[in-house]
Symmetry: none
Subunit: 143 residues, 2 copies
DNA sequence: CCACTTTCCCCCACTTTTCCCCACCGGCCC
DNA sequence: GGGCCGGTGGGGAAAAGTGGGGGAAAGTGG
C-alpha cells in the first residue's frame, strides 16, 4: 500500500479536536498514532507501524551515545500517543499547538510514511523558497 | 506497546505526594516502581519490568569488578521501591526531592523504558541547547 | 512493656479535564 | 429525494488531579 499523500485543511474546534482526513485513517484507525514534534515548524503524526522502529533506534542511540540523552529526552517529552475518537478526530494539546503556531486551522500534509500538521501560513512560507537544483533532481526522478 | 511518552507537571502536596500521570500508570499499576537517582538532575522511575534486567547487570558488575562495589552501593543506597496509593499517587521522600531540587512542582517526562522526574526549570535549561548537527541526525531517523 | 511521636496510607470531597455520544450540516451518488 | 459519508459542534458522564482528616503502623524513649 502506498504512503500518505495530499493536503487537507481542517478546523480545530474549541476543545482542540481536529478531524483526521478520511484518506489518512485507513488501516491506522485501530492501531493509533504517535504525535511528536520533530521539526521546528510542524508536528509529525506517525502510525504505530512507523513509530516502532524509530523508538527502537532511539533506545539504541541513547545506549550507545549517553551524551545524547538530554536531546532525546527533549524529543520524547514532546511526544504523545493519540487515538481517534468515534468521529475520526484526534486531540492536539494546547501546548503542542502553540509550539508550531497552530491556530483555528490545521493543514494536514501527507509525507509518505508519516503525516505532518502545519499552520497553513507557515507551510506556504517554507515551501515557497525556490531551489532549481532540487527541482532538476525531482524532475529527473519522474522522467 | 510503546514506551513512556509526554511530559506532565503535577503538584507536590504538603505530604510529599505527587499524582503519577494517568498515562504512565497503565500496566505498571500492579507491579510497582523503583525510584532511583541515576543522573544528577533528575530522579528515574522504573517499572519493575525495566528494573529487573538492570539489577541483574549490577550484580554481574560487582561480581566481575569488585572495585566498583562502593559506587554501586551509592546507587542502591538511595534507591527505593514505591507504589501508588489508591489515588494513583507516589510518595517522594524529602531527601530525594532535595537531591534534584524539586519544589512545589514536579515534571514527569516519558523516556521510553522509564520515567524521569525533574524540577521544571532545570529541565528547561538542560534541553534548550540547540544542536543543528544532532537535529539533522534525528530528522534522518524519522525520514 | 508501655506511652508518645512520626510517618504512612486509606477514605472522602471537590474541581478540572477528558472523552464518549448524539446531533446537525453539506455534498455526492445512486 | 433518500441514504451515505465526511466534517463540525456541544452536553454530560467519567476520569484525573488536588487537598485534608484521621486511624493504623512503625520508630523512639523511658
Amino acid at each position: 500500500m502506498s504512503g500518505y499523500l495530499g493536503s487537507f485543511v481542517h478546523q480545530v474546534d474549541a476543545k482542540g479536536r481536529v478531524a483526521l482526513p478520511a484518506s489518512f485513517r485507513r488501516g491506522s484507525e485501530s492501531e493509533g498514532f504517535i504525535l511528536i514534534q520533530v521539526h521546528e515548524d510542524a508536528l509529525s503524526l506517525l502510525p504505530h507501524s512507523s513509530w516502532r522502529p524509530i523508538e527502537e533506534e532511539l533506545r539504541e542511540l541513547v545506549r550507545k551515545q549517553p551524551q545524547s540523552r538530554a536531546r532525546i529526552l527533549g524529543l520524547t517529552a514532546s511526544a504523545l500517543e493519540v487515538s481517534t475518537d468515534k468521529q475520526g478526530r484526534i486531540l492536539i494539546p494546547d501546548r503542542m499547538r502553540e509550539l508550531v503556531g497552530l491556530g483555528r486551522e490545521a493543514l494536514f500534509v501527507g509525507a509518505l510514511n508519516k503525516i505532518e500538521i502545519w499552520a497553513p501560513d507557515r507551510f506556504e512560507e517554507k515551501t515557497r523558497a525556490p531551489d532549481t537544483k532540487f527541482d532538476r533532481f525531482i524532475e529527473s526522478i519522474f522522467a
